[in-house]
Amino acid sequence: MATKVVMEALSPTMEEGRLVKWNKNEGDQIKSGDILAEVETDKAVMELVARGDGVLRKRLANEGDASPVGTLLAVIAAPDENIDSIVGSAGAGAGASGQAAQSGGASQSAGSAAQAVADTKESTSKSAVPQAPAQSQGEASTPPQQKAGGQGAPPSAAPRPAPGAPSRPAAPRPPAAAAPAAPKGNGSSRPAAPAAGGRQRSSPLARRLATERGIQLGGIQGTGPGGRIVKRDIENAKAAGVAAGRSAAAARLATEGDFKDVALTQIRKTIAKRLTESNGPIPTFFLTAEFDATRAAELRIQLAEMGDEYKASFNDIVIKAVALALAEHPEVNAHWLGDKIRQFNRIHVAMAVAIEDGLITPVLFDADQMTLWDISAKARDLAGRARERKLMPEEYTGSTFSVSNLGMFGIDQFTAIINPPETGILAVGRAEDKAVFVDGQVVMRKRLRLTMSCDHRAVDGAVGARFLQTLGRMIENPLMLVY
């Protein structure tokens, strides 16, 4: 039985993905769980895993192609199985990749359209695997005029999985565990239906929770009857963190001639889209203040003298101070939601990390509860893995406030762009030695410039200023951070 390989939603916000590299060639023997390809999502490079056994009969996407979620990328089938109808239907579902040409191209006559629909019907009935529920739903909601020739055939072969909740779940299913028997004493005469082609079962609640938390069901072993993934499995997966590493980074393209064309990567597109969204509709204002960071600098030296494991950067100190200041100013620890402002009780501080071709904002969850030592260790870990692009989606989503630091590049001060729906971001400049007046004397002090960008729809000037005041008090008296 043929298994379709489609572009899966590998992150909560993914709408399309770029196929970075095929790991398998046509003709290769495939087992369920094998890594077929690497796919670049809007944030990271993730693995595309086989959901069925057989031979990789056909690859329909080329390395470098970007395809919307749901697009057919390849077909896994038995060596002698006829897959023409599945391959032929590739263009009909997504209409994006070059495969549309195979089913008649852009100017399809009515006759060939009907043919494509008929093919689709055949292919869906052949690949009985996972589409059953999606298809019956699609059929029920298909307006009659979309059905060709009164055949009642569903128009699309490639149902689009919901983000984070693939409708083509992975194959692993306990082999011996049959479907749950109808409860005894319940008088039920329904036979236990066998699982169709190794579909992974999950409760509706489990699917909803997985979507909400950005967890892939494919990597989870269900503990319910017949291997059904239930609520507790999602909760355990959340605790353990489902491994979904990636292998090699995208291969560098060789450069030729006087110039080099650089294609827009997914992350670059996302940055452009998001930041335009930000500077356009968000009425932003900026507050800059300079604080005395002498004591903070002394604290850093003292910590470093205690040993490498106690080292903390200026950024760590600022993040800790921000978290504590946010606890006193919940009106700044907020999201603008269009029709309301949501102030958070918990404080999740995102820190902008520069990576090879963009930036990403891993999150320090409950940063106000973390010790400086915790923040330092966690920030190092997150930044390191961000640069290797190994962050899990749940590690870079869910922040309530952000901090961006360009001090290490010698930037005195700058303005950062708000990451919506957050209502504020703090830009940290470098700490530099300056001559300042203290008690009528000119003395040398470490000075640090902080600039806060505020979404005026949620945060007024005085509110932001009071927050900065609290923050400054913390930084100037770093004992408050450990008190």
Binding site: G185, N186, G187, S203, P204, L205, V230, R232
Partner: protein
């Protein structure tokens, strides 16, 4: 608060409503001189006289029809069936006359009447006299179907039923008449169509009504000792059904067991499950299970009767199953 039997709570409701409104009258087999087959009308003949407490011949279809006629001309009859098993003979009046009169007369005739009596099984009354009819009756647009499971609800719902301008089916229970509980005195009204959360817990919802409320409460007590806390949703009215109360509970617990006295196929529970799948699809962590009478006419033999009835053991088993504990 006074502790009364379910029987005395009903008598109290009847007396108060007979006193309150002289259009209200009670009729049925043995309701007057014999004080009622189950003594629900005890003392009422002496207090209200033979014009208001009326003995009828053994003619269910006949006196149900008299009741319909009386309601059409402005009285507020309460028709007692000795049991709902006998009421099968009167269903034409209940279903074809009472339930449809307002609609088919274009709103000219209200039907302010109550059909009441014991429903479901007692002990060893065998196949013909041990049946729970609520799903038959709740199927009919135009009827309201009430199934009180406690003395307080029996009083409060009967008063609401008598004051309602629509035909109300009021299902009591022979095994409930001696159950005791606190009953508020005087003007205690339980609104029709409103369920009550009789016990609160996070682990599983048990949705039930009528006689099975007692079973659910016992299950709740037993499971609490194991650290399993269940929501007991007492529907109290099965038509109209309080869908919001059901959803609220299931959205909290993510799993449900529906417990009823009648049979499985087209039982009250199938309707509850339908509401749950519609309103709570994304909240469910397990299929909803049902506990009900086995699919046989009620056996006479004591041991077989016990095996055929829904009970605490079967309910616990279903709860453990939807919690993935077994």
């Amino acid at each position: 608060m006074a502790v009364l039997t379910y029987r005395d709570a009903l008598t109290q409701a009847l007396r108060e409503e007979l006193q309150r409104d002289d259009r209200v009258f009670l009729m049925g087999e043995e309701v007057a001189q014999y004080n009622g087959a189950y003594k629900v009308s005890k003392g009422l003949l002496d207090e209200f006289g033979p014009m208001r407490i009326v003995d009828t011949p053994i003619t269910e279809l006949g006196f149900a029809g008299v009741g319909v006629g009386a309601a059409m001309v402005g009285l507020r009859p309460i028709v007692e069936f000795m049991t709902w098993n006998f009421a099968l003979l009167a269903l034409d009046e209940v279903v074809n006359a009472a339930a449809k009169m307002l609609y088919m007369s274009g709103g000219q005739y209200k039907m302010p009447m109550v059909f009441r009596g014991p429903n479901g099984a007692a002990l060893q009354l065998a196949g013909q006299h041990s049946q729970a009819w609520e799903s038959w009756l709740a199927h009919i647009p135009g009827l309201k179907v009430l199934t009180p499971g406690t003395p307080a609800d029996a009083k409060g719902l009967l008063k609401s039923a008598i004051r309602d301008d629509n035909p109300v089916v009021f299902l009591e229970g022979e095994m409930l008449y001696n159950v005791k509980g606190e009953v508020p005195e005087g003007e205690h009204i339980v609104p029709i169509g409103v369920a009550e959360l009789k016990r609160e817990g996070d682990h599983c919802s048990v949705i039930t009504h009528g006689k099975m409320v007692l079973v659910a409460m016992k299950v709740a007590d037993d499971l609490a000792k194991e650290g399993i806390n269940i929501d007991v949703v007492d529907l109290r009215t099965v038509r109209p059904m309080d869908v919001e109360a059901i959803s609220r509970s299931v959205q909290k617990t993510n799993r449900a067991v529906v417990l009823e006295e009648g049979w499985e196929i087209c039982g009250m529970g199938s309707q509850v499950v339908d509401f749950i799948q519609r309103e709570c699809f994304d909240d469910l962590d397990a299929p909803v299970l049902r506990v009900h009478q086995e699919e046989v006419p009620m056996p006479y033999a004591k041991n077989l009767e016990r095996a055929a009835k829904p009970d605490a053991g079967k309910t616990v088993k279903a709860i453990r199953k939807v919690m993935y504990l077994d």
